[in-house]
């Protein structure tokens, strides 16, 4: 069976959806962070697949930009999680409810 770029697009979309749903239903901040990464990598795969289909190198260079952005995001995200965990070791997203109204 031929594996065309369409398969990769579907895989990318699936990764994106898994990440998105995971972010909404999981309550552990660390897992939520990983879900964001999954979403971004789903997009990366989509870019590479499109790049392949269009025969255009630009889509692949985009991936490098996204990787760097994702790394920067993780640094900030982990920093935030560590500073919250230090104060309340077993925190979940449901415990973050001081701000309401």
């Amino acid at each position: 069976m031929d594996v065309t770029t369409g398969w990769y697009l579907v895989l990318g979309a699936l990764l994106f959806i898994i990440g998105g749903v995971g972010l909404l239903i999981r309550r552990n901040p660390l897992v939520m962070l990983m879900c964001v990464e999954l979403m971004l990598n789903g997009v990366n795969l989509t870019f590479v697949a499109f790049s392949r289909r269009l025969g255009d190198i630009a889509g692949q260079t985009v991936v490098f930009f996204v990787l760097v952005v994702a790394a920067a995001e993780v640094v900030v995200g982990l920093g935030l999680i560590v500073s919250i965990m230090r104060r309340r070791p077993d925190v979940t997203a449901d415990d973050l409810k001081l701000l309401k109204g």
Binding site: L23, M39, F50, I84
Partner: protein
């Protein structure tokens, strides 16, 4: 020249002068970081603030220089189509410069009182401002995404900087998770546009749509999905309903000067990106996105105003009111005409000054347990000038005549009427009348006389100390709001000249 995959790579020629605003901000941020790291204890406390202030002023001056440059030699694209230099970019450059200067002035006393690290704060502020300017001038979706991320990542940290307060941490965490979520949507939208048009360049996307016109689009659903995802990503950033959930929590939990920066520069950058993408690049398919934005605008207005009415914390109330203002700006954006865009720009500029001023006053009346409304009772009695300034800002946001807010509301509603979207114009008018209540409630509180007594302890609430820097910033914003209210013509013309163009 380096051969890459059979093609010859030529480095793009870069117009460095046109990049001056970004370079000044970036240079100042690096200077602050390096000097404060090297000198450590010996670095004087005022150093980073002064550098940030000078950088903000420098950006303002260079913005004016670029404005006249564009008037003489026309708008152009710089760095081989990645950024465009036009009136639109310059207007947002000036707006961001003003926001930086105001934030630095207001944050000065705040940082000292809360024992926060000022070099980091100022460096992050400058980097976030760089991102905002890049966003406003980007003519390629990936460059726009990079600007968006520089702005957002800087703001995530700034929201958490008051790390001794749990509210700030919680706000930053919520902002981070939802911000990253929306960035991923935005990025997926870029991928869809890339997949269907074959480029991430906005000029390319526009040409593609023009060429195809109404003929057979290869994969119309893919481009539509791209539009939708880009819109979702940006709606998150500008806090439009139903993507607004982060805004109240984040504005309330973040340090007040940071909330002011978010409500002005960050919101403006989000709308800059929205206008650049939808009005300029996808203007051809206006009939596809305009009704969606119209519905979004009405929902945003209603939810923003209704929720603001039931709030008891001033910061949270201003957050909901800021959501409602995003609705008014969307009314201008959805018109999809030059007038509508100019109205949105005028609105953004005048609203930014009002909200920066409001948060400046709030940061003076800072309390450990938030800013419940009754803390502001009798403010006008104890500090008449500050009370008067806050009144002006609130009247402006309510859209009372003789303030800039009135002209702004008038212009966006006029743009909707010109486009014959009567329902939208009527909805905006009715809601703006209802919305006046939320501001009047605060105004009554601050002018009420016997409010100088704290309810629990019976102890008199001390008059807030007004440091000269904050006072100067507040008076400046107040003067702007009033002057534009009386003689709006210069800002209207400025906004008209700043309607974006797109260069390939």
């Amino acid at each position: 020249m380096i051969p890459v995959l059979g093609q010859v790579f030529t480095a793009p020629s870069i117009d460095w002068w046109a990049l001056a605003p970004q370079l000044i901000l970036l240079g100042a941020a690096l200077l602050i970081l390096v000097v404060s790291a090297l000198l450590a204890e010996r670095c004087p406390a005022w150093f980073s603030g002064v550098v940030a202030l000078v950088a903000g002023a420098g950006v303002f001056v260079s913005g004016f220089y670029l404005w006249y440059d564009i008037r003489d030699s026309g708008p152009r694209s710089i760095v081989s189509g990645a950024l465009s230099l036009d009136g639109f970019a310059v207007l947002f450059t000036l707006l961001v410069a003003v926001a930086v200067v105001m934030t630095v002035l207001v944050a000065d006393a705040y940082l000292e009182r809360e024992h926060m690290d000022s070099p980091e704060f100022h460096a992050l502020l400058l980097l976030a401002a760089t991102g905002a300017i890049v966003m406003a001038s980007a003519s390629d979706l990936i460059v726009l995404f990079l600007g968006l991320e520089s702005l957002s990542i800087g703001l995530y940290v700034m929201a958490a900087m008051q790390f001794r307060r749990e509210e700030a941490q919680e706000a930053a965490m919520k902002y981070f998770i939802l911000g990253a979520f929306s960035s991923a949507f935005f990025l997926y939208g870029i991928a869809m546009v890339y997949g269907s048009t074959g480029s991430t360049g906005l000029a390319h996307a526009r040409d593609y749509l023009n060429r195809l016109d109404t003929a057979i689009v290869d994969q119309p659903w893919m481009l539509m999905l791209g539009f939708a995802l880009l819109l979702v990503g940006l709606a998150f950033k500008v806090a439009a309903v139903p993507f607004h959930f982060w805004a109240p929590d984040v504005y309330q939990g973040s340090p007040a000067p940071v909330s002011g920066f978010m409500a002005s520069a960050a919101k403006a950058a989000g709308f800059a990106a929205m206008l650049r993408i939808f009005f300029v690049a996808f203007g051809q398919s206006r009939t596809d996105w305009s009704p969606v934005l119209g519905v979004l605008a009405v929902v945003t207005l209603v939810v923003g105003v209704v929720m603001a009415i039931i709030q008891t914390d001033l910061k949270r109330m201003i957050a909901f009111s800021s959501i409602a203002h995003a609705g008014y700006i969307l009314v201008g954006v959805q018109a999809g005409t030059s007038e509508g865009t100019a109205a949105a720009l005028f609105y953004l500029f005048s609203y930014s000054l009002m909200v920066l001023g409001t948060f400046a006053v709030i940061s003076l009346v800072q309390w450990q347990d938030g800013q419940p409304l009754d803390r502001f009772e009798g403010l006008a009695d104890r500090r008449p000038l500050i009370g008067f300034a806050l009144t002006v800002f609130l009247l402006g946001q309510a859209g009372v005549p003789l303030t800039s807010g009135f002209i702004a509301k008038f212009l966006v509603i006029k743009a909707a009427v010109d486009e014959r979207t009567w329902w939208l114009a009527i909805a905006a008018m009715v809601i703006s009348a209802a919305g006046a209540y939320i501001y009047l409630r605060v105004i009554f509180a601050i002018w009420r006389r016997p409010g100088a007594v704290d309810e629990e302890g019976g102890e008199p609430v001390a008059a807030p100390v007004v440091p000269p820097a904050s006072g100067f910033a507040i008076l400046g914003a107040m003067a702007f709001t009033l002057v534009v209210g009386f003689v709006p013509q210069f800002l209207i013309e400025f906004a008209r000249d700043a309607v974006p163009v797109l260069l390939g």
